[in-house]
């Protein structure tokens, strides 16, 4: 019998929500656990198997000098590395720090700033090490996660769409909230994956799944500024 591929799940600066998405695959979790050896997944298990690992899922962004080192160790023990979620693929919400002076932020939260060891930036995993696949989303979509894991283990290309949320709205028959209601909507510049969630609840898209593949650098900002936000 061939050895089961090993799966590792790593966390950097994040909310844990994308790792939780794996545990939220209630119908598929035991099947996944049967197909792979979950070798390192601290949120779920205290058993830790030594690397190297066939597939590493990495959640979170790089925000400390220590993590900037640690991600290289993770890369070294990972045959295939997939960054999951907005933090790991873009720096995430904590990248908003870049709009502020770091000293102001630290002293806004911590009484003794001299003990805080942090970087000025919050950066994506791919800014530090080569990444085999980036799965966008805040949080990631469970179906896409299962597709990526399945595809990589089967040695095929993951089928994750790179078109915009607009396509999902049209397919779902959701009336365009931007056109019909004049609501600010980032859908045209945002990658699909949520299933047109916000528009179907009568709300403009606010970009959880990040820029679509061919979004121009000006598309999202100009969309946003058109609405004065």
């Amino acid at each position: 019998m061939t050895r089961k591929p090993t799966l590792a799940v790593w966390k950097f600066s994040s909310c844990d929500g994308c790792q939780l998405s794996l545990l939220d695959c209630e119908d598929e979790l035991l099947a996944v656990a049967g197909a792979v050896e979950i070798a390192y997944f601290l949120e779920a298990s205290s058993a830790v198997a030594r690397g190297p690992y066939d597939l590493s899922l990495v959640e979170g962004s790089i925000t400390t000098p220590h993590d900037a080192e640690r991600i290289h160790q993770v890369r070294r023990v990972s045959k295939t590395l997939v960054s999951i979620g907005a933090c790991a693929t873009t720096g995430g919400i904590q990248a908003l720090r870049s709009a502020h002076r770091l000293g102001d932020l630290v002293s806004a939260v911590y009484a003794r700033p001299e003990y805080i060891s942090t970087l000025r930036t919050s950066t994506a995993i791919a800014d530090h090490v080569p990444v085999d696949f980036e799965l966008q989303g805040c949080p990631i979509a469970k179906a896409q996660l299962l597709e990526v894991v399945g595809a990589l283990l089967a040695g095929r290309r993951a089928n994750v769409p790179t078109y915009s949320v607009c396509v999902e709205c049209k397919r779902a028959g959701v009336p365009c909230v931007l056109v019909s209601r004049g609501l600010p909507c980032l859908g045209p510049a945002t990658q699909a994956g949520c299933g047109a969630l916000c528009p179907s609840y009568g709300r403009g898209c606010f970009g959880c799944f990040g820029p679509k593949e061919q979004a121009s650098d000006v598309e999202a900002p100009s969309l946003a500024s058109a609405f004065g936000r």
């Binding site: 966390k11 950097f12 600066s13 994040s14 909310c15 844990d16 929500g17 994308c18 790792q19 939780l20 998405s21 545990l23 939220d24 209630e26 119908d27 979790l29 035991l30 656990a33 979950i38 997944f41 601290l42 949120e43 779920a44 298990s45 205290s46 058993a47 830790v48 925000t63 400390t64 220590h66 993590d67 995430g92 919400i93 904590q94 908003l96 720090r97 709009a99 502020h100 102001d104 932020l105 630290v106 806004a108 939260v109 911590y110 009484a111 003794r112 003990y115 805080i116 060891s117 942090t118 805040c138 949080p139 949520c194 969630l197 916000c198 609840y201 009568g202 709300r203 606010f206 959880c208």
Partner: protein
């Protein structure tokens, strides 16, 4: 001769976020206990400054993927209280229903998948699935039902998109909620069984004299809101006075800031809610607690797993009650006009009281934000429990002692992701 020993776990497993633990002993006496937090700081309170007040629910949800609803509720309540708006009636009933979904999801995750393996000698729920497949299948279905409630009401289970200051973007139809009823009825039965299973576990011995703190929700078991905080010592104060009583301190032996209430170490979460509000539990939850032989005040922290299952029953029964009484409101939200001032909001996250305070300017821009999550409040108590446990069981072999200390930490379902805009990092500058 002096004998010293250190029991250390570098990476705590089965908790949300990254932390470690060190216990130092000398001649059988505990000299130091540290719950070390090395989750990187994310500065939410810092970058909330300048953002529009309506963005707070979506931004703060990202503090925690396990309890985003708690953040959304506490932030909405703070903004609404400042604007003088009270979200009530069915709009509020939906909030409580969404929150019940989060309790079901979060408590199930913790009870079955993170905590039960400690009691049953497994490394994980996946390993448990080999020895106790029915238990794990029940857990997965229960968790899925909690998630389904969050999906129907909130749009999705992690970082729901339907919550807004003033109410909702859209409200579900009566039929959409009715469709949840069969699953929730199953969940209620499964939760009752979970109480029986949890009550039959073996609990390490430890009795602590806790100061319990929970929200007071005007005659309801506190979940989605509360007007005041009450303590087991009989004191009470309104939510806006939270920071007059809860003070964060730097303790020499630890790198973490610790909260104290009027100078005392205290506990928030299921044990506290249960001790203070047992009489307000739903009828089946109270009956299940009685049947499980749960005393009115549980002082053994290892038995918190039983209290969580009792709250699971409560959340299922409450969700069913809310759905049966539901009528779709005419409008999904109330108008909230911001004004300059300070707003306070608090709700009961699965792990305990979550307090938010925001100061706004006239245009509704956030001038500053303060968030006190439950894990920060419990941190001193966690360390005190570990210290007491090790003192009482110093003769246990090291490995066993280490496992039990980890279990004692997991009693609190600590959420380190939540706590890190608050907790101090250990920085080795050597």
């Amino acid at each position: 001769m002096t004998r010293t020993k250190t029991i250390r776990t570098d990476y705590l497993a089965r908790v949300e976020g990254e932390g470690g633990m060190t216990v130092r002993m000398r001649d059988g006496e505990v000299t130091d206990v540290k719950l070390r937090i090395y989750e990187p700081p994310r500065f939410f309170e810092g970058f909330l400054r300048g953002r529009d007040f309506r963005e707070a629910p979506d931004i703060t949800a990202r503090i925690c993927g396990i309890c985003p609803v708690a953040y959304q509720m506490s932030s909405c309540l703070a903004m609404e209280s400042l604007a003088g708006v009270e979200v009530d009636g069915q709009l509020r009933a939906l909030r409580r229903l969404l929150y019940c979904g989060e309790w079901i999801e979060s408590h199930t995750l913790h009870v079955f998948m993170l905590h039960a393996p400690d009691f049953l000698g497994a490394a994980s729920a996946v390993e448990l699935a080999q020895t106790n497949p029915e238990l794990v299948e029940t857990a997965l279905r229960l968790k899925k039902i909690g998630n389904e409630v969050m999906r129907v009401v909130g749009g999705r289970e992690v970082h729901p998109i339907n919550v807004r200051v003033g109410g909702w973007y859209s409200t579900p139809s009566r039929a959409a909620l009715d469709a949840l009823v069969p699953d929730l009825e199953w969940a209620l039965e499964a939760s009752l069984e979970a109480v029986r299973v949890a009550a039959g576990l073996d609990f390490p011995e430890l009795e602590q004299d806790y100061l319990f703190v929970a929200l007071d929700a005007d005659g309801e078991y506190p979940i989605d809101r509360g007007s005041a905080l009450v303590t087991s010592a009989g004191t009470a104060f309104p939510v806006p006075a939270f920071l007059d009583h809860v003070v964060e301190e730097h303790v020499e032996h630890s790198n973490a800031l610790h909260a104290r209430l009027d100078g005392q170490t205290y506990l928030v979460g299921p044990l506290a809610r249960y001790a203070i509000h047992r009489e307000l539990l739903s009828p089946l939850a109270r009956a299940a607690a009685d049947e499980a032989g749960l005393e009115p005040v549980v002082r053994n922290p290892f038995r918190s797993i039983v209290v969580r299952t009792v709250e699971l029953v409560h959340a299922c029964e409450e969700a069913l009650r809310l759905i049966r009484a539901y009528e779709q409101p005419a409008e999904p939200a109330l108008e909230v006009v911001p004004r300059a001032g300070t707003g306070h909001g608090a709700s009961e996250a699965p792990r305990g009281v979550l307090y938010h305070r925001y100061r706004l300017d006239d245009d509704g821009a956030i001038l500053d934000a303060k968030i006190v999550p439950p894990t920060s409040q419990n941190q001193r108590m966690i360390e005190a429990d570990v210290r007491a446990f090790v003192t009482a069981h110093a003769t246990l072999p090291d490995d066993e002692l280490r496992l039990r200390c980890e279990q004692a930490i997991r009693n609190y379902d600590p959420c380190i992701s939540c706590a890190t805009h608050f907790l101090r990092l250990e920085v080795d500058r050597g």
